[in-house]
Structure formats: structure tokens, C-alpha cells
């Protein structure tokens, strides 16, 4: 017997496209009407109002157009594009979920690939064409109102077309990716209900599972601290994560090109999978729950795992003594039964998939056991002193008044570098830090072979190794020995640490031009300018006191004298934002996050110094000398004008 396949009829694709378009033209009309209101109509009204105002400026119109179009693009993606993607996809592919319609369409001399591609193209064209045309029309309307167009964004410089087109392209590709994902589930499932449930479970379940898993590892594996999975990983899971991503980078700049390309790749993967599975799909799967078992298995796993972990965290917060793995397994089992009941439309065959649950439960317990025993030495690993370039000990309770550096680009938001609590690089100091780390590990070993599931990690040891890698181990307060706080304090007062972490060591006399002396309740006095020599003396005195072990935190009370260093001539930033100056041998240069381009200005947020004569004798004396010279005046101690 000969088995031959022939090329589809030349007009097959066009016919599928045309008939599909005809099928959804009514809804497409509604979609176009809604977009028309959103884009050109409201923009025209808005610009007309601005133009009608007396002394209307082109800059104001440009700003209004830019803001409106930018906001409309954000709004349109979830409100219209995603909504109508679902409507169009279900309208065009529900034939797969109906035995009668399958009889018609699968008997037609059209290849399945052609059928699927024609319908996907019709749906996407119905979504994209009105969107693009109306967006271009909006730009044309903006131009008619005299809005200045330019390609790149600059504050107060007109309507930036480039970023808008970037977002438009992202929205289109995101819509395409979402469409292909929905089509994938419609191909995999036998009913629209199952496809909808599966798509929702997949889109919500996968990012949620990533989040919950990272949180679980964070508390189950002693030493593991970096529970913040990079956003890019969430973005990879599905197109619906794009909205928070877009809002997070919600500036007037364009969307990340990498993310835009990923949307295209995502769409291609979903489409390729849909085509492959559609060829394999049995027509008789219509009106059955699933055409292929794999999606059902994946969804069941996602929902069960998420539900189990959510219940686990809930029980842990309500009854911390209850073993979390048990509550996770109970929650997962209940969710597993619920999913089976939904997919089976009842309790029939409910227990068939129990072995699959058993396998997952066993894997989860094995994983928990691995975590509880230190994950093959992960928890107990500690670097050799010779391998360490610098070590940062982070104690979230720690002290304030630590340096917090940032850069500020003219075009973008602040880029913060780390703020440091304990930062050491000299070998003998690194050795002390490692000894502190070792004391924590000894305390863990003393607990027995199994480590408990704890709360959030509080204390972190972050080693920057000489080979450029970074090793971080974080521990909950409940796991550290009692002596830990005293030993932390010893590290905290090391001279190197004071130089590395207190902000007054990162500024020079040029960084500020005035001081502001006041009390907690009385801040009515004015800032006083000082000459360079006085500023240098004051800074020197402050640094000397800190090196001698002064701690501003211990001085704070309602009547303390508070010193602020200000740069009142700072036009771009606040008076409290001072230009930072890094010594050439600064340890910051060896830190991975210190990647500020050469010449980029570096700033810090200056904190207030609470002073008294005992704790800050040099600073106090310096200020008193300035008072004696009549250059400044002290606030009245204990003044309360509140």
C-alpha cells in the first residue's frame, strides 16, 4: 500500500484565513471600536483640550501625547489584546472541541498545518492590524496638533517615537506569544473548559511555583540565601508576566530588546509545538478532557505543588511547630484530588493518578531530606582565607548610618550599589569573619544530623573570592549561636570596617558646603555655610571619632544635637545627596556590583549624626570652636517646639 502525502491546495491557506476572518469579523469590529476610542479619539480630545488652553506650549502637548500613548500601550495589552486573543482563539479553534465540527474540518482537503496556521494568522491579523493602524493614526493626529516627534526619549524634549514603537512591537509579539500559548492548550485539550483551566493553571502556576520553590529552598536549606529568582526567569515562563515587567521598567524608555525577542521565540516554540501536536491529535479527542496526557500531568503537578507549598507556608505561619513537609504533602494531595475531579468531571477514576502523586511526594521528601542534611555539603562549605578577596557580613538588624552608594543617570532611575554593614578585605579581618561563619556552622552541627525548616534567613556571609566568583551563605537567627551578636559587634568595630562602611569616609570637604545643627524637635534653624578649611576640620574630627569607636546610634534621644552635612547648592539632587569620593585603594573596586563606568558621578544619601561630647569628643570640640568663632550656633539642648 502506498502512503502518499500531497502538498496542500494552493488556495488552502488563503481560504482558511479568509473564512476564519469572516468567522470573527463581528468581534473584530467591536475590538477595533474599543481601540479607536482608546487611541486616536481620546488622544485627540486630550490634545485638543491642551491646545485650547491659553499660552499652550508645544512642549506641553508633546509631553501629554507621550504620556498618553505610553499609558495607553500599557493599558491596551491586558485590557484588549489579551482579552480578545482569548476570544479570537476560542472562536477559531473551538472546532477542535466539537465532534461535529471536526467531521467537517478534518474531512476537508486542507492539511492540518495549513488549517492551524491560517487560523492563527487570521486571529493575529485581526488583533495586530487595527492596533498598528490606530496607533499610527494617533501619531498622525499628534503631529497635526504640532507635537514634536523625535526618535529617542529625553525629558522635556517632545514625543519619543522610538520607545513607543519599541513598546508597540513588544505588545504585538507578546500578544502573538499569548495567542500561540492559548492555541497550544486548545490543541492539547478536548474541551474549551479544560483548555481554559489548563492555560490559567499554567500561566499562573509556573511563576508561582518558581516563587514558592525558591522560598521553600530558602527556609529548608540552611545557608541558601539568594531566594530572589531573577525576574528574567519569571519572564521566560509565559507572556502574562510581561505586564509587571513592563511596569517595573515603566519609564518612557522602550522595552528590553531581549525580552521582545524572547516573546518571538516563545511564540515560535508554542506554534511549533501546536503544529506538531495537531498533526498527532486524534480527531476523536474532541469533547474529551485531553488530547494528550502530558499537559494534564504538568497542570496537575503545578497545581498540586503550588497548593501544597501555599498550605505549607500558611500552616507554618499559624502553627510554626507543625512539620512543614507534612502540611505541604497534605495540601498537594488535596489539590491533586481536586484537579482530578475537575478533569474527570467527578470522582470516577479519581485514584488512577495516585501513583503519580506518590512519586512526586517521594521526590519532595527526598529533596527535603537532602536540604535537611546540608545538600551534600552545601551548607557547611566555607572558603579558605587565602581565596577570599573581601567578605561582607549582613545582619538585617544591623546598625544604620552605613554608606549607601548610588549613581544617577540623567536618563534613568537611580542605580543603587549595595549598602554595606560589615565589609572586610584585610586577611586577618577576613579570618575573623570566617571564624564567625565557622561558629555558626559548629552550632548547626551540634543540632544533630537533620536541620530544621527555619524562618527567613537573616544573617549572610558573602565572600568575593579571588577567582571573581561570589559565595553567599545565609542563616536564620534561630540557627546562630548566642555568642554570634557579640562577635558580630567585634567585626563591626574593626577599623577597616569603619572605614569601609561609614558614610563620612566616602566624602571629602568638597562634597558639602553647609552644615545644619538642630535637635530632633527643633529643626527651625538655617543651614550654615562653612569655608573649606572648617569643613575639612569637621570631617576629620568626625572620622577620628568613628575610628575611635563612636556610634551615632547610641547617642540618639529627643534632646541630642544632630549634625547634617548638606550641599545646598546641589541643584539636581536633594541637599542631603552628597557626591561620594572613593579612595583609590577602596575595597569597593574589588566587589562585583561595583561596575560604575569611569567618570560616572557617585552619590550617597547623607545621614544625620547625633552627637554628644562624650561619644564624639573631637567633633563636639570642633563644633564648639566654630560656635566660639561665631560661625555657627548650637541649638538649645532639650528644646521642644513640637
Amino acid at each position: 500500500m502506498t502512503s502518499t502525502t500531497f502538498s496542500p491546495k494552493a488556495g488552502g491557506f488563503c481560504q482558511v484565513f479568509r473564512s476564519s476572518f469572516r468567522q470573527i469579523r463581528g468581534v473584530a469590529l467591536l475590538y477595533t471600536a474599543l481601540l479607536t476610542v482608546t487611541f486616536p479619539l481620546l488622544l485627540a480630545l486630550s490634545l485638543a483640550q491642551v491646545s485650547a488652553a491659553p499660552y499652550s506650549l508645544i512642549e506641553e502637548r508633546s509631553r501629554r501625547a507621550m504620556e498618553y500613548l505610553n499609558g495607553a500601550l500599557y493599558f491596551t495589552l491586558p485590557a484588549f489584546l489579551w482579552t480578545f486573543t482569548i476570544v479570537f482563539a476560542v472562536s477559531l479553534f473551538h472546532y477542535l472541541q466539537n465532534k461535529r465540527s471536526v467531521d467537517l474540518y478534518h474531512a476537508l482537503p486542507i492539511r492540518r498545518e495549513t488549517m492551524l496556521l491560517g487560523r492563527v494568522c487570521a486571529a493575529f491579523a485581526s488583533l495586530a492590524v487595527p492596533f498598528v493602524v490606530l496607533f499610527l493614526l494617533s501619531l498622525a493626529i499628534a503631529a497635526l496638533f504640532g507635537v514634536q516627534m523625535q526618535w529617542t526619549y529625553a525629558p522635556e524634549a517632545g514625543c519619543a517615537v522610538g520607545p513607543l514603537f519599541s513598546k508597540l512591537l513588544f505588545s504585538l509579539l507578546n500578544t502573538l506569544a499569548f495567542l500561540c500559548l492559548v492555541v497550544f492548550f486548545l490543541v492539547c485539550c478536548g474541551t474549551v473548559f479544560d483548555a481554559a483551566v489548563s492555560a490559567i493553571a499554567f500561566c499562573g502556576g509556573l511563576p508561582l511555583l518558581l516563587l514558592l520553590c525558591s522560598e521553600y529552598v530558602h527556609i529548608a536549606l540552611a545557608g541558601f540565601g539568594s531566594h530572589n529568582i531573577p525576574l528574567i526567569v519569571y519572564e521566560l515562563t509565559n507572556p502574562l508576566v510581561a505586564i509587571p515587567v513592563m511596569f517595573q521598567t515603566g519609564t518612557m524608555e522602550g522595552t528590553s530588546p531581549a525580552l521582545t525577542v524572547w516573546m518571538l521565540i516563545y511564540a515560535a516554540i508554542c506554534l511549533a509545538l501546536s503544529l506538531f501536536l495537531y498533526r498527532k491529535r486524534r480527531s476523536e479527542a474532541a469533547e474529551n478532557a485531553f488530547a494528550f496526557p502530558l499537559p494534564r500531568i504538568i497542570i496537575r503537578f503545578l497545581v498540586s505543588a503550588c497548593s501544597g507549598l501555599l498550605l505549607g507556608f500558611l500552616v507554618k505561619s499559624l502553627a510554626p511547630g507543625f512539620p512543614m513537609p507534612i502540611s505541604v504533602l497534605i495540601g498537594a494531595f488535596l489539590a491533586h484530588l481536586a484537579v482530578e475531579m475537575v478533569y474527570n468531571r467527578g470522582v470516577r477514576g479519581l485514584w488512577k493518578a495516585t501513583p503519580a502523586y506518590g512519586v512526586c511526594a517521594a521526590l519532595f521528601l527526598v529533596f527535603t531530606l537532602i536540604c535537611a542534611t546540608g545538600a551534600f555539603g552545601y551548607t557547611y562549605r566555607i572558603p579558605a582565607v587565602d581565596d577570599v578577596q573581601a567578605v561582607e557580613v549582613t545582619d538585617v538588624v544591623g546598625h544604620n548610618h552605613k554608606v549607601s552608594l548610588f549613581t544617577q543617570s540623567d536618563l534613568g532611575p537611580n542605580t543603587y550599589l549595595s549598602s554595606y554593614e560589615i565589609l572586610l578585605g584585610e586577611p586577618e579581618n577576613v579570618e575573623d569573619a570566617i571564624a564567625l561563619h565557622q561558629s555558626v556552622l559548629d552550632s548547626l552541627r551540634a543540632r544533630g544530623p537533620l536541620l530544621p525548616v527555619t524562618n527567613d534567613a537573616d544573617v549572610s556571609f558573602r565572600y568575593i573570592l579571588k577567582d571573581g566568583s561570589v559565595m553567599t551563605r545565609s542563616f536564620s537567627y534561630s540557627l546562630v549561636p548566642e555568642s554570634f551578636y557579640d562577635e558580630t559587634e567585634a567585626l563591626n568595630t574593626l577599623e577597616e570596617n569603619v572605614r569601609n562602611t561609614i558614610d563620612c569616609f566616602y566624602i571629602s570637604a568638597d562634597s558639602f558646603n553647609s552644615i545644619f545643627l538642630h535637635t530632633y524637635y527643633d529643626d527651625t534653624m538655617d543651614a550654615v555655610p562653612l569655608d573649606e578649611a572648617d569643613r575639612a576640620d569637621l570631617l576629620q574630627a568626625l572620622q577620628t571619632d568613628y575610628l575611635a569607636g563612636a556610634d551615632s546610634d547610641t547617642v540618639w534621644d529627643d534632646s541630642s544635637v544632630i549634625l547634617d552635612l548638606l550641599n545646598v547648592s546641589n541643584l539636581q539632587y536633594s541637599s542631603y545627596q552628597l557626591r561620594a569620593t572613593l579612595p583609590e585603594d577602596s575595597i569597593l573596586f574589588s566587589l562585583p556590583e561595583y561596575d560604575v563606568p569611569e567618570g560616572e558621578p557617585l552619590f550617597l544619601n547623607a545621614d544625620s549624626y547625633a552627637l554628644d561630647a562624650q561619644t564624639f569628643p573631637n567633633t563636639w570640640a570642633c563644633l564648639k570652636e566654630l560656635e566660639a568663632e561665631g560661625k555657627i550656633s548650637f541649638p538649645e539642648e532639650g528644646t521642644n517646639i513640637g
Binding site: 500500500m1 500531497f6 468567522q23 461535529r100 465540527s101 467537517l104 474531512a107 476537508l108 486542507i110 480527531s283
Partner: protein, 299 residues
Amino acid sequence: MIEVNHLTKRFGSVTALDDISFQVESGSIFGLVGSNGAGKSTFLRTASGVYKPDMGWVAIDGFKPFENTAVKGKVCFISDYPYFPRTATIEDMADLFSHTYPGWDKDLFQKLCACFPLDRKQRVNNMSKGMQRQAAILCALGARPTHLLLDEIFDGLDPVMRQLLKRILSGEVSERGMTIVIASHNLRELEDICDHVGLFHRGGVVFDRDLDDLKLGIRRVQAVFRPLPERSAFDCFDLVTLRTQGSLVDFVARGTQEEILAKLETLHPIFSEILPLTLEEVFISEMEAAGYDIDNILS
């Protein structure tokens, strides 16, 4: 020609077609009969390329139809409940068929439209069941297929339309050599039009035979004997069934009228009569002979 070779189709644990083999000659009208769930519709869907066989194959003019657009372009399938998109009119369906079936004949379609009193601009889903079936027939015939697969096509059609359809189908077979397979429970309708029939039961083919051979080669005999001969006296007949009621013997036997009469004379009946069998009676007899419980087979 449609060749079916060890065709098996399963739906989960249910075997709808179980290793069936037969042929449908080109230019013939083949009637598929059988009980509910016998596998008639499954066979039509497999032959039209909607279903993929699990084992064996079905071939249209030597080629398998599944995902074979060239073969599907020559085959039209009208299911027992024809489907039309929600807003589709007959013109929309004609447009779809005209762009997908290579043999679409616009003139024939126009001619057929004149025969079937349907509003081509009305939504098909708003039409009655019979009218929807007519719409499906219109489009299928307009595509000028070489093979037409019809599932319960006479359901819902009024007598006039049934006659019209039979005439059109006969014309297509005689003029163009179209091969038609009709699955139906309505044996009376099939008897009028089919030249070949196949009986499906529980996924298997009980038999497939030329209708004339089937009808002419089997006779029902009613005869009165006094005294009643022994049961073994009737062994000379190729018996299908035999019943006695008092002195009346009622039996169905294979053979020509002349052969049966000659054998009957030797038994000296007081009265005898040879009756023609309807297709339904032929099937019931054959099924009984095959040992099937007829009450549960033919609905």
C-alpha cells in the same frame, strides 16, 4: 475503489472497528447497515480521513486518506449531524468548498440549488434538520467528488426529497461513476438505491454482498404438510431459518426459485408458496443464520 484491509479503530478500551476487510467497487452504491454502535460512522470517518486507523488501512483509489489532501479532494463526507459554522450561509459554505475542493463545479451547484428549495443567504444553523441536510448535500455534490460518504443521509428528509436525492445519486453513479457509501438504519431506502450492502456488527463485518445476489439467492417458503415430514427431510434445502407451526412450515432457504420448487415438490406439500424477501427480512434471516440475536441487532 475503496479497499479496507484489516482495519482496526479503537477508542480507549472500546474497539469500534475490529480487523475488518472488504472492498467497495468504483461506480457502485454501497449500503452500510448494522446496529447502533456497530462501527458504521467510525468507518465513514476513517475512510474520509477524519480518523486515523490504529491498525490496517483504508485506501481510496490506492491511497490512504488521512492527512492526504489529494485523496480528500476527491472524497466528500456528510456526517449524521452535519456541522455548519455559527454564522455560515449556504453561500459561505459553497465558498469554502469551492476554494478547497479541486473539482468544485459552480454550474452543477447552481443547478442543484434550483432543485433544492433553500435560501442561500440564510444562516444554515437557523434551518430545519432536513434543510441543513439538503445544504450539506448541495455543497458535497457541488464539489464533484469521486467518492461520497453519507451517514444517515435520509434522516429528516421528506419523501419528495428522498426520491430526489436517490435520483441525483443514481445519476452521479451512472453518469460519472461516482462511488457512494451510505450508512443507514433505513433498509427500505437502501434497498431502492444500493447495489451492494455490508452488514456491520460490533466492529466486525458480518458479510458484504451484492444486493441482487442477496435478494435473488434467498427465498422464503411457506408450505402446509399433512403429515408433517421429519426435520431431516428439509436438509436438502440450503436452509437459513426454519420454523414450524402446526402443519405449517415457514423457512428461508438459499437457492433459485426453480431449485427450491423442485426440492419442495419431492416433499408433497398440500399447499406451498414462495415469497420474495425484503432487505430487512434478508438481513434478519442472515443474521439469525449467523447466530446473532436479531432482537438486539437491527433497530
